[in-house]
Amino acid sequence: MSTPEQRPEGMSRRQLLRHTAWFGAAVVLTVTGGEVISHLGGTPAPAAVAADPRALRFVQVSDSHLGFHGPANSDVTGSFARAVDEVNGLGFRPDFVMHTGDLTHLSTPDQFDQVRQMMRGLRTGQVFTVPGEHDSVDDHGQKYRAMFGAGTHGDGWYSFDIKGVHVIALVNTLALEKLGHLGVDQLDFIRKDVAGLSSDTPIVVFSHIPLFAMYPAWGWGTDDAAQALSYLRRFSSVTCLNGHVHQLFAKTEGNVTFYSATTTAYPLPHPGVGPGPIPVTLPAGQLGAALGIRDVTYQPGQHALALRDLRLADRKPS
């Protein structure tokens, strides 16, 4: 005979209470443990980092394609203006802004001039760039270097130190067949550049095309990147930031973490989806969510950099 307390087809009220109590205990312990572990990480509050003069904060902007005309984005200039506006509205002045290539769509003098004028509106310590393949369409990057190449080596690569972080900006878009390519001279530059650095120096590497094999069939990789990365193996923290693929992506290989950035212009398909990396036209109102910028923080004493990807969707141009 079944009663409300004990039914043969189900659990008794007492059993239910017992299960609920144990599950509740698991939830309470999980929340408590999560609090403890997250505090062990020592990630300081954003306001504290912004106020810490030792902290490095920079912004990555990528693939603005000024001069692009197409249904995927009928106003890339307006989108880039919103990106500039978003950088200026971050609530802190970044130490630098890095544009990781494809500033222009067809490398025309007007497009280069327009992007430089617009980037002058960035409220930041310095503005750096690396070229994309769209910035060297017909001249092996000569117009790009004339505009942005001051103080660089070779075809436009360079490095600098800022707040304890060593930054390397690479050019892997000039000698590409299908994949990106660095070349012997640039590899030699990297080897010599890091030779005198202590192994605990945080390294940040910028390039346009990914230095990892994200999707080689579409050229989303660099054929001689392994050689470059071999020079960086001894460093405890290496972060590689790239553009080109117009979408967020992250991957780790040992001590190296790779992050692909999204675009300020138009999205591309996910790897292998569709016939190739051609601009994707999103339904009305959805483009802004696919575009964005990234702010990056390095707090001295931390092992890794903290990344925050911000969408352009919610911000109106000023």
């Binding site: 999560g34 572990i37 890794a304």
Partner: protein
């Protein structure tokens, strides 16, 4: 089956789950916390696995066993997804990071096997001990 065997099985599953939690906590602290989506997932797995491992060592209630199995299976599914389709845009290859990846999948698979092992559990009014599964209430 002697009473010591279910206890050992339960403690074994709890230990495996605890190791999985420690590995995820270590990776979270080492840098995975910076990965969008992946960081919170690692934190949830680490704190959940450690909490349920502790409680599982104290009691064998079905809800704990199911939660433990869910955490172990979820971690394994996440591992496979991160090597195939990606997780929140995050992709890794092979058994990186070493040795945490290999240890993690071994202890999570072991935890699932131990949690699926039928136990003998005495019930009131029964002289014999009917076989019940860890999945049963």
């Amino acid at each position: 089956m002697t009473p010591a065997i279910p206890l050992l099985t339960r403690l074994g599953a709890a230990s495996c789950l605890a190791i999985s939690g420690v590995i995820h906590a270590q990776l979270y602290l080492h840098g995975y916390r910076m990965l969008p989506g992946v960081g919170p997932a690692f934190l949830l797995q680490a704190s959940g696995a450690l909490a349920v491992a502790l409680l599982l060592a104290l009691n064998t209630t079905a809800v704990l066993r199911l939660t433990a199995a869910g955490l172990a299976a979820g971690a394994l599914v996440g591992f496979i997804a991160s090597r195939t389709i990606g997780v929140f845009g995050f992709l890794e290859y092979g058994l990186e990071p070493e040795p945490q990846a290999l240890i993690s999948i071994v202890v999570e698979a072991t935890a699932l096997v131990l949690l699926a092992t039928p136990l003998r559990h005495p019930r009131h009014g029964q002289h014999s001990s009917p076989r019940i599964s860890l999945w049963q209430a």
